[in-house]
C-alpha cells in the first residue's frame, strides 16, 4: 500500500473502490476489452464517477471536493486500486483536465464542461507534448495564433492518453504571449485523432492532429501566455498518480508471485524455500517499499504544493518507473514458463507498468530534469 496510514474516511473510500472494481471490472473483463476500440465501458466509468473518482481535484464551488481536503492523496488511492486490477478508464487525463478547468477556466467554460466530467458522462484528454516527445514541460508541437475573437491552433500532439475517446482535449500551445492551454472540443473541425497502438491491453493512446482549429478565446484555460505554472502542476499530478498506479500493479504481482512460490514444489520442496529466490524477493520488496515511500513523499509534496514538488515528482517517477518493470519481469522469471504465456495474467501488469514507464517521460527524461534542478546547466 502506498500510504502506510489512512484515515477512516480514506480507508472506506479505498475499500469501496476496491469492491467496485473487483465486482465490475475483474481481469476477465479487462481481457475482454482488449479488442474494444474505446477500451472502457461508459457505464463503468459513470459508476466510478459516482464513487468520487472525478470530483477530487475539482473545487467545491465547481461541484467537486474531497472529504479529507487532500483530494490528490485520495485520488491516488483510486489510481493504486486501478493498478491492482489493471483497470481501464481515463483516470489521469480526466482528472488533470478537470483540475485545470476548475482552476483556470471561465465561468462559462466550467458550467459547460465540468458537470459532464464530474458525472462521468464525458471524458477528457490532455495533450501537453509534441508528437513523439513523451515529456516536455514547454508547450511543444502546436502553435496558436490570434484571429479575431478566436485562436487558430495547428500542430501534432502525442501520445495523448484517451485522445480518441475524449469529448474535450486540453491542448498546450505556444502563442506569442507564451505557453497557453486551450480546451478544444473533440469534434471541432480540423481535429483529427489518429489512434495509436499501445502495449497496454485497454489503455488507449492517440496522436492528435490540429489543422487550423478555431477555438474561441473563452476556451483558454488559465492566462494567455501564462500556462507554464499550471502545466508544471499538471505534470506533477499526472506523475504522482501514475506512480501510485504502478505501485498498486507491482504490489499485486509481487503478492501473487509470493503465493505462487509458496505453493509450487520442485525437487520435493517449495520454491519459496530456496535462498536464491528468497534473496530476490527481499530485494524486490525493498525496491517496492522504497517505491511506495517515495510515491507517498511526492504525493504529499504535490498535494501541499511544496517547494520541492517538481523534484520529488520527477524523482519518484524515475525511481518507480525504473524499478517496477524489473520487479515484474523477475516475477515472470519466478513463475517459470507459465509466466511468458498469454494465459497467465502477469502480462497484463507487465504491459501496464511498461506503458507507465515511458508515458509522461522515461526515467532518463526525469533524471535529466533532476540534473538541471540540481544546478547542472542544461546539456
Amino acid at each position: 500500500m502506498v500510504e502506510v496510514e489512512l484515515s477512516e474516511d480514506q480507508d472506506l473510500f479505498r475499500a469501496t473502490t476496491r469492491k467496485f472494481l473487483e465486482a465490475e471490472c475483474p481481469l476477465t473483463t479487462v481481457r475482454a476489452l482488449a479488442d474494444d476500440t474505446v477500451g472502457f465501458d461508459a457505464g463503468f466509468w459513470r459508476k466510478g464517477a459516482e464513487l468520487g473518482w472525478t470530483t477530487l481535484l475539482v473545487s467545491e464551488a465547481d461541484g467537486g471536493g474531497s472529504l479529507s481536503g487532500n483530494g490528490l492523496r485520495d485520488l491516488a488511492l483510486v489510481a493504486e486500486e486501478m493498478g491492482r486490477l489493471v483497470s481501464p478508464g481515463p483516470l489521469v487525463p480526466t482528472n488533470v483536465v478537470a483540475w485545470a478547468v476548475s482552476r483556470g477556466g471561465s465561468a462559462e467554460l466550467k458550467a459547460r464542461v465540468l458537470p459532464g466530467l464530474v458525472a462521468g458522462t464525458t471524458v477528457a484528454a490532455w495533450a501537453p507534448s509534441a508528437a513523439g516527445a513523451a515529456f516536455e514541460t514547454v508547450a511543444g508541437g502546436c502553435r496558436a495564433e490570434r484571429s479575431g475573437d478566436d485562436f487558430v491552433l495547428s500542430g501534432v500532439k502525442g501520445p495523448v492518453e484517451a485522445g480518441a475517446q475524449a469529448d474535450h482535449l486540453l491542448v498546450a500551445a505556444a502563442t506569442d504571449a507564451g505557453p497557453t492551454q486551450f480546451l478544444v472540443d473533440g469534434n471541432s473541425p480540423g481535429v483529427t485523432v489518429v489512434p495509436m497502438g499501445s502495449i497496454d491491453l485497454v489503455r488507449r493512446v492517440a496522436e492528435v492532429h490540429l489543422d487550423q482549429v478555431r477555438v474561441p478565446a473563452n476556451q483558454v484555460v488559465g492566462a494567455e501566455g501564462g500556462a507554464a505554472a499550471d502545466l508544471e502542476r499538471q505534470w506533477q499530478i499526472a506523475l504522482v498518480l501514475q506512480c501510485a498506479e504502478t505501485c498498486g500493479a507491482t504490489q499485486q504481482v509481487l503478492d501473487m508471485t509470493l503465493e505462487y512460490v509458496a505453493d509450487r514444489f520442485s525437487f520435493g520442496r517449495p520454491l519459496a524455500s530456496y535462498q536464491a529466490l528468497k534473496h530476490r524477493f527481499a530485494d524486490m520488496t525493498m525496491w517496492l517499499e522504497a517505491s511506495h515511500g517515495t510515491t507517498t513523499a511526492a504525493l504529499r509534496a504535490v498535494q501541499d504544493d511544496a517547494a520541492d514538488a517538481s523534484e520529488l515528482a520527477s524523482g519518484a517517477k524515475a525511481y518507480v518507473a525504473a524499478n517496477a518493470p524489473e520487479i515484474i519481469q523477475d516475477c515472470v522469471q519466478m513463475h517459470g514458463g507459465i509466466g511468458v504465456t498469454w494465459e497467465h495474467d502477469i502480462h497484463l501488469y507487465l504491459r501496464r507498468v511498461t506503458l507507465n514507464r515511458a508515458m509522461y517521460g522515461t526515467p532518463a527524461d526525469h533524471l535529466e530534469r533532476i540534473a538541471v534542478l540540481l544546478g547542472m546547466d542544461a546539456a
Binding site: 502506510v4 496510514e5 509470493l258 512460490v261 509458496a262 517449495p270 519459496a272 524455500s273 535462498q275 528468497k278 534473496h279 524477493f281 527481499a282 530485494d283 520488496t285 525493498m286 517499499e289 522504497a290 511506495h292 515511500g293 517515495t294 507517498t296 513523499a297 523534484e311 520529488l312 524523482g315 524515475a318 525511481y319 532518463a364 533524471l367 535529466e368 533532476i370 540534473a371 540540481l374 544546478g375 547542472m376 546547466d377 546539456a379
Partner: protein, 444 residues
C-alpha cells in the same frame, strides 16, 4: 538551565516554540560548521571533543529529547527531536554519540536494564561522560551471532569472561560495552547466551586496533583473559541474552536506517541527512557536468539518496503503527548498504582517472571518493551482512521458509563450529578451553 522564554500552550511548549528556543541556543552555544562541510573526521581527539560538545547540549537542556524524563531526558515526542535535528544541521554536533551509544545501546538499556543500571548509566551517557560500544561479533564469524563462543563462567558474585570480540568501533576511546557471552553450553545456542554490561578499561582486557582498507583505525578487537564482571551487571536474565541481543540488533537497524527516537542531530540516512552533493562536486571538478551519462549518474544517485529518506520514514511509521514487523528495519539497512555501492561505482565512473591517480598531496574529491570506494562493502558487512538482511526480510517480513541450520535444538557444545583463532600479539595462548570438551575439534 533552560531558557525561560518559550511559547507554551496549556503548560506544554509547542514544537515551534521549542524550535525557536533551540535555534537561539544553537546560535549562542554551538560552533558552526563551515558551509558545505559534513563535519570533522573521527579521531581520538575528536571523540574527546565530542564528549565536551555533548556536555554542552546537556547543559543547554537539549539532550535526550525523546528519552524518559526519569533518566535525564525531556520525554518529548519525535516532532520536537526533528525540529532540533533540522535546526542543528549547520552546527558541529556530537554526532558520534548517536551510533552506537544513543540509538543502539542506551535504547537497549532503556528496554532491558534494571532501574539501578539505568540510573547509573543513562544520565551519565546524556551528560557526555560515557561512550558505549557493542561487543558482539567474534573472529570465528560475524553473521552467526548467536554462535558466539566467548564464555562467561559464574564464580560467586562475578562472571569470569574469556574469549575475543571484534569489529567494535572506537572501543579504545569508549567506556562501557554490552558484551554477549556464552554462559550455558548444554542448551541450544540461542538459549545459553547472556548479555553483560562491561567496563572496557580494566585488567584482563587487551584492545588492538584494526587498520581498515581506507587507513582508518577505528575498529578494534578485544581479548578477554578472565575478566571479572559482577553478576549485578547482567542485562536482562542469565541465559536470556539472545532476547537482549535481538532487541539491540533491532535498535541498530532502526538507528542505522535513521529512524531512532534516541539519536540527535543530522542522521546519516534519514530525511534530515541533507543533500549529498559529493558526486555533483566531483562531476564539476573533473569538468564532466555536461556529459549526459554523468548527469544521469549524478541525478540517479541523488534520487536514490532522497528515496532512502522516504523509505526510512515509511518503515519508521509502519513499524510504530504496527503495520510492519520490526524486522522491516532490515529494508532500510539493506537499502543504505546497496546505495553506498551504487554511489561508489558512480564516483569511479564520473571521476575516471582522477579517482585512481592524483597529484601528490591532493585533497580533491577524486582522491577522496576513489579511496572511499575501496571501503564500499563495509556497510554491506557490518551490522549484519546484506545476505543476513535478505534472510531476515524474506523470512520475517515476507514469511518465507527458514533456511536449514545444523544447530537447532542441539546442545551448543555438540555443534560444529570454528575455533577461536590466535590473537595478534598473543601467540599460542588461545588453546581449546578444557572446560568445553568439544571446542576446537571440528576441523580434525
Amino acid at each position: 538551565m533552560r531558557s525561560a522564554e518559550s511559547e507554551v500552550t496549556g503548560g506544554v511548549e509547542t514544537v515551534e516554540g521549542f524550535r525557536s528556543r533551540a535555534r537561539c541556543w544553537l546560535a549562542d552555544c554551538m560552533p558552526r560548521l563551515e558551509t558545505g562541510a559534513v563535519g570533522p573526521e573521527r579521531s581520538d581527539e575528536r571523540y574527546a571533543e565530542e564528549r565536551l560538545l555533548q556536555r554542552r547540549v546537556f547543559d543547554g537542556g537539549f539532550a535526550g529529547i525523546c528519552w524518559p524524563t526519569e533518566y535525564g531526558g525531556l520525554g518529548l515526542d519525535g516532532a520536537y527531536q526533528r525540529a532540533f535535528d533540522e535546526e542543528s544541521l549547520p552546527y558541529d554536533m556530537p554526532l558520534s554519540f548517536n551510533i552506537p551509544t544513543f540509538g543502539i545501546l542506551a535504547a537497549t538499556l532503556i528496554d532491558f536494564g534494571t532501574p539501578e543500571q539505568k540510573a547509573r548509566h543513562l544520565p551519565a551517557i546524556l551528560r557526555g561522560d560515557e561512550l558505549w560500544v557493542q561487543f558482539l561479533s567474534e573472529p570465528t564469524g560475524g553473521s552467526d551471532l548467536a554462535g558466539c563462543i566467548t564464555r562467561a563462567d559464574r564464580d560467586g558474585d562475578v562472571f569470569m569472561v574469556s574469549g575475543s570480540k571484534i569489529w567494535s568501533s572506537a572501543a579504545s576511546v569508549s567506556d562501557y560495552a554490552m558484551c554477549l557471552v556464552r554462559t550455558n553450553w548444554d542448551v541450544p545456542k540461542h538459549r545459553g547466551l547472556t548479555m553483560l554490561l562491561m567496563k572496557i578499561h580494566q585488567p584482563g582486557i587487551q584492545i588492538d586496533r584494526i587498520r581498515q582498507i581506507d587507513g582508518s583505525m577505528e575498529f578494534c578487537q578485544e581479548f578477554f583473559d578472565d575478566v571479572a564482571v559482577p553478576a549485578a551487571d547482567v542485562i536482562g536474565d542469565v541465559d536470556d541474552g539472545w532476547s537482549v541481543a535481538t532487541r539491540l540488533l533491532l535498535h541498530e537497524r532502526v538507528a542505522v536506517g535513521g529512524g531512532s527516537p534516541y539519536t540527535s542531530g543530522r542522521s546519516m540516512t534519514g530525511s534530515t541527512s541533507g543533500v549529498d552533493r559529493s558526486l555533483l562536486r566531483l562531476a564539476q571538478s573533473v569538468g564532466r557536468s555536461d556529459d549526459p551519462r554523468v548527469r544521469q549518474l549524478v541525478a540517479a544517485n541523488h534520487v536514490e539518496h532522497r528515496v532512502q529518506g522516504h523509505l526510512v520514514d515509511r518503515v519508521t511509521a509502519g513499524v510504530s503503527a504496527g503495520r510492519m514487523p520490526p524486522a522491516a528495519g532490515s529494508l532500510t539497512k539493506l537499502f543504505h548498504a546497496v546505495s553506498i555501492i551504487s554511489r561508489a561505482r558512480a564516483s569511479l565512473e564520473i571521476g575516471g582517472i582522477d579517482t585512481a591517480v592524483w597529484a601528490v598531496d591532493s585533497e580533491g574529491p577524486g582522491r577522496r571518493l576513489g579511496e572511499a570506494s575501496l571501503q564500499r562493502q563495509a556497510m554491506s558487512l557490518g551490522g549484519g551482512s546484506n545476505e543476513i538482511q535478505r534472510n531476515i526480510i524474506s523470512e520475517r517480513v515476507l514469511g518465507m521458509p527458514r533456511e536449514w541450520a545444523g544447530d537447532r535444538e542441539v546442545a551448543y557444545r555438540d555443534v560444529k563450529r570454528n575455533t577461536m583463532p590466535t590473537g595478534p600479539g598473543r601467540p599460542g595462548d588461545q588453546q581449546p578451553n578444557p572446560r568445553d570438551r568439544n571446542q576446537g575439534d571440528d576441523l580434525s
